[in-house]
Symmetry: C2
């Protein structure tokens, strides 16, 4: 059943030439997913069918672009959310479709926050507005409500030639930027937002990358250091690698529900200052993958004020990843933006701390990942630098305009007197209520499993439970040159069809192991998934304990591993 050993064996010669098992897995999985050429009207050509086989030296001479000459910063990039395990999941899915028998009937991809792929239905109003923008002849159709038509007309009015097909300004369509500023002002209870500070983006990732690109400079010990939480969303580490900056890890406090602690920030900062120039502080709130609401109660507000004071003191540019601002499940929690806290701290902070905040169409209650919509609000940026940012964005011309239209609906939803209000509200609540229910369900079931410990999922879309991995399994992983939680997740996938991402892809304290899973499957499917996970975990513990007859030692190790805290 479990074929990892087989794979490694098969590719051993390749493995020797490569730096890490990770790149190996990337390649192997990629090659395997190519699959046979699909037959249709026209015969399709696949390299596999070429008369001379790829790799045959008689056919090919040395390439210009090889692993040796490849941009080393690209080589250094890792991105676990779509890493080898996900490619393997696609492969298993394809085999199932081809009728190859597996110990499961379905692959469940709980690796990525992709709500629609998990069956979530789109918000009708959003799709109506985008469809109207796309095909304006529908503006005459009685099948579409007036408020959707009014939104579409407003957007088209500001598009060149009144068409979604023209480039927008690099910063985005003007009226959409204005609506976003109005939304932020309402959200932050009157803290004014200036639409000149709003930039539409191609998803939040694109905005984060653009801001980081501005901030990266220097060589040697003056290289830009970027402080990121551990665990983090791996876009950050990937962007830092790609841009050649220095990653500075600050650890969230797992024992304290993944809290952010200013002393830990100071520790990380002071250590890093010896070999780089820390200039950026990234905070993800609500947390990905932790599900932590960093700004919830009175106590946490004080903590965030300390963090912003620290950023002020050390002259750090703050990047606030607030894409999960609508995903709040704890009944005693509410989303507060970093900008609002900064404002409440007084003008010395509000007028000085450089802050970029990011939002997206991909998360929240809409889950419109495919539209690649998003925006950023940038505060206190030097006007000359702002002009440079616009220049940089101009090279890519503009974010997709349909994504901008989708973003517009999120910040400008139907109002209480409008015809779509009732349906919109019903659909929105239905998604968010289901997510809240699934957040609790996930936490409960996972915590009922011996050897799994899961903090409350207060927000976002993920659980990041800690798992106990027996020493025997750790040894086996080491012998395969893969992370122990990678071994765990591979076995989970092979045995149950459940695809989750190893904690090592997000970062974790040494000697602790986790995985990230989404809470997005439908409640029925999620419950089955969690029960299968439970069975798998118990089987896994048993398998690796029995093998060495070390149950007593294992239990001690268990206690030591699971209670591992910041030193």
């Amino acid at each position: 059943m479990f074929r990892l050993q087989h794979i490694v064996h098969r590719s051993q010669p390749v493995l020797h030439r490569m730096k890490s098992i990770n790149s190996y897995l990337w390649q192997d999985a990629r090659l395997k997913t190519q699959g046979p050429p699909v037959q249709s009207g026209l015969k399709r050509f696949s390299t596999a069918e070429a008369p001379v086989e790829a790799g045959d030296p008689s056919r090919m001479r040395e390439r210009t672009l090889t692993m040796e000459t490849l941009n080393p910063q690209v080589k250094a990039v890792e991105y676990a959310v779509r890493g080898p395990i996900v490619i393997k999941a696609g492969d298993l899915e394809r085999r199932l479709q081809q009728g190859v028998k597996q110990p499961f009937t379905e692959v469940i991809k709980a690796n990525i926050g992709d709500a629609h792929a998990m069956g979530q239905q789109p918000i009708t109003f959003l799709r109506q507005v985008v469809a109207l923008c796309c095909f304006p002849e529908l503006l005459d159709s009685p099948a579409f409500p007036d408020d959707a038509k009014q939104r579409a007309k407003r957007i088209l009015q500001d598009c060149g030639g009144q068409s979604l097909g023209s480039y927008s300004a690099s910063q985005g369509v003007e009226c959409i930027r204005q609506d976003i500023a109005d939304y932020i002002t309402r959200r932050d209870q009157g803290v004014l937002s200036d639409w000149n500070n709003i930039y539409l983006t191609t998803g939040a990732s694109d905005g984060i990358m653009s801001i980081l690109k501005l901030l990266v400079s220097g060589q040697g010990s003056s290289r830009t250091g970027v402080m990121i939480p551990i665990p983090q969303y791996p876009l950050y580490s990937a962007a830092i690698s790609e841009l050649g900056a220095v990653q500075i890890n600050y650890y969230l406090d797992e024992a304290n529900c993944w809290a952010l602690d200013v002393e830990e920030l100071q520790r990380a900062y002071l250590t890093a200052k010896q070999h780089c120039q820390p200039r950026v502080l990234c905070i993800i709130n609500p947390g990905n993958p932790t599900g932590r609401m960093h700004l919830c109660q009175v106590q946490s507000k004080k903590c965030i004020e300390e963090v912003l004071h620290f950023a002020y003191e050390e002259n750090l540019f703050v990047m606030a990843d607030e894409v999960y601002q609508d995903n709040v499940y704890s009944s005693d929690c509410q989303f507060h933006s970093f900008k609002k806290v900064l404002c409440e701290m007084g003008p010395e902070y509000f007028n000085n701390v450089e802050l970029a905040s990011f939002h997206s169409t991909s998360k929240g209650y809409t889950g419109e990942c495919g539209f690649r919509g998003g925006y950023m609000e940038v505060l206190n940026m030097d006007p000359q630098v702002k002009a440079q940012l616009v220049k940089l964005l101009s090279v890519r011309l503009c974010p997709p305009v349909s994504g901008q239209a989708a973003m517009n609906v999120i910040v400008n939803p139907p109002k209480v007197h409008e015809p779509s209000y009732a349906q919109f509200t019903k659909e929105k609540s239905s998604v968010l209520d289901a997510l809240a229910h699934k957040a609790r369900l996930t936490e409960q079931i996972l915590n009922s499993v011996p050897g799994i410990k899961c903090n409350p999922v207060q927000g976002a879309m993920y659980a990041f439970p800690q798992i106990f991995i027996p020493p025997r399994a750790i040894q086996e992983a080491q012998s395969l040159s893969i992370a122990p939680d990678m071994l765990y997740c591979l076995k989970l996938l092979e045995e149950t069809g459940i695809c989750v991402v190893p904690g090592s892809g997000f970062g974790q304290r040494e000697g602790t192991y986790h995985f990230r899973m989404t809470i997005l499957p439908s409640p029925g499917k999620l419950e089955v998934l969690l029960e299968k996970m439970k069975e798998f975990h118990l089987r896994f513990l048993e398998e690796y304990s029995q093998q060495e007859q070390q149950i007593t030692i294992t239990n001690q190790d268990h206690h030591r591993q699971m209670s591992k805290q910041p030193d």
Copy 2:
């Protein structure tokens, strides 16, 4: 009327701190376009209204991110197509709307290949398919033809949860990649395309950037050199700056209708080899901004074979920008892809030369820029590097899925027996015929102006005429620290409302001056535009000749400047 002097005077202190007039113009224009806060239901906040003025030292301390600490590679980026002159055009447009009197009643933006903004109508079938994908309830509507529905269903079938809102695979939706491969095979008359080599992109720019990112490496004299045509589309120079590579200019032969010459390639290569490692050869065909069809007749095919042989010999990765493959106007010309030529050269070339070719939804007869759709086909890439490319693309998750759907229509249009065929064909021909007419019109009228010389516009969407600039105007430009053709284009804009881009933004032989204009305005408007241009040019010549009473010298200079050829 002409306010450049005034602007420079006003910002003199800022100017002193800046390295080039170019960055100055970026900033100044940006600040001016912010405009007054727009009033709507909710009062909008503008930094201009803040109680303490921006820049007041009592309010602001030194920023973390300043022009001094900004990423120097970002600082080095230039992108003329959306540069200061375009920002100025937006400013003038806004003033017109506010009722400020100008010597013209309309700003015509001929700076960018943005067809819909110039009034081109979308292709109905394309918009129907995207609207159906976006709002699948329309699949039940009798208002939509069956072939559009069938396309939409096919796309949705391959989307997670059958929704345009789910992430696609990083390389794109599978059936769309297959359709693209089939399209290429048909286009190249049977040269097979493998869908495993197809990657959907966020417009062509994104693909070009991704491939360049892989290729950039090394320090000092081993830094990657990228050979680009001069004149070029400034995405290339911008990407090279952003990635810290070395730009290697090879000049197209203006006297020979912007032909590509292998001896010039060799010259550029050998010169560059002394200080960098040339590894990439970029070719734009049909040419932007030149309008040149590099592969047209028997003679030009021989030339391209020489170029590809050169790339083979010197081990260069070829990047073929073929986004204008549908924009061919010369009756004796047809588009031939570089891949096809490579195949015809025999297996030694076809199996070895590394080639990436780019296409887009933004150009052709669809002009769907706002959808940010595109693809690339990658040949002979090392499989391990290919896996690294997929990894790199994964970090950005996926290209916008609506743009992928738009791309699908271009490669899979209605077939002859399908219900939308007649309308589709009519709309397509209408756009392409009009473009062909406008290409001829532009060339004719421009060549009727003394001091303007325009090569035939064989393809793409632009004319790139050479203009004579009198020495007095050159002196004035020098005193303002701007390029002479920037002065020309600024005056053209201020006096006529016509926005074109100075040749200096694309590159040109020293001592020659050009501008790039699109041929996209409607025929009536284009004719008026060209006549206004003619009047302006004559006035410009007169103004700068009279001022110094140097008509004789000017005429001599004219001859010398306009006949400037490769040394």
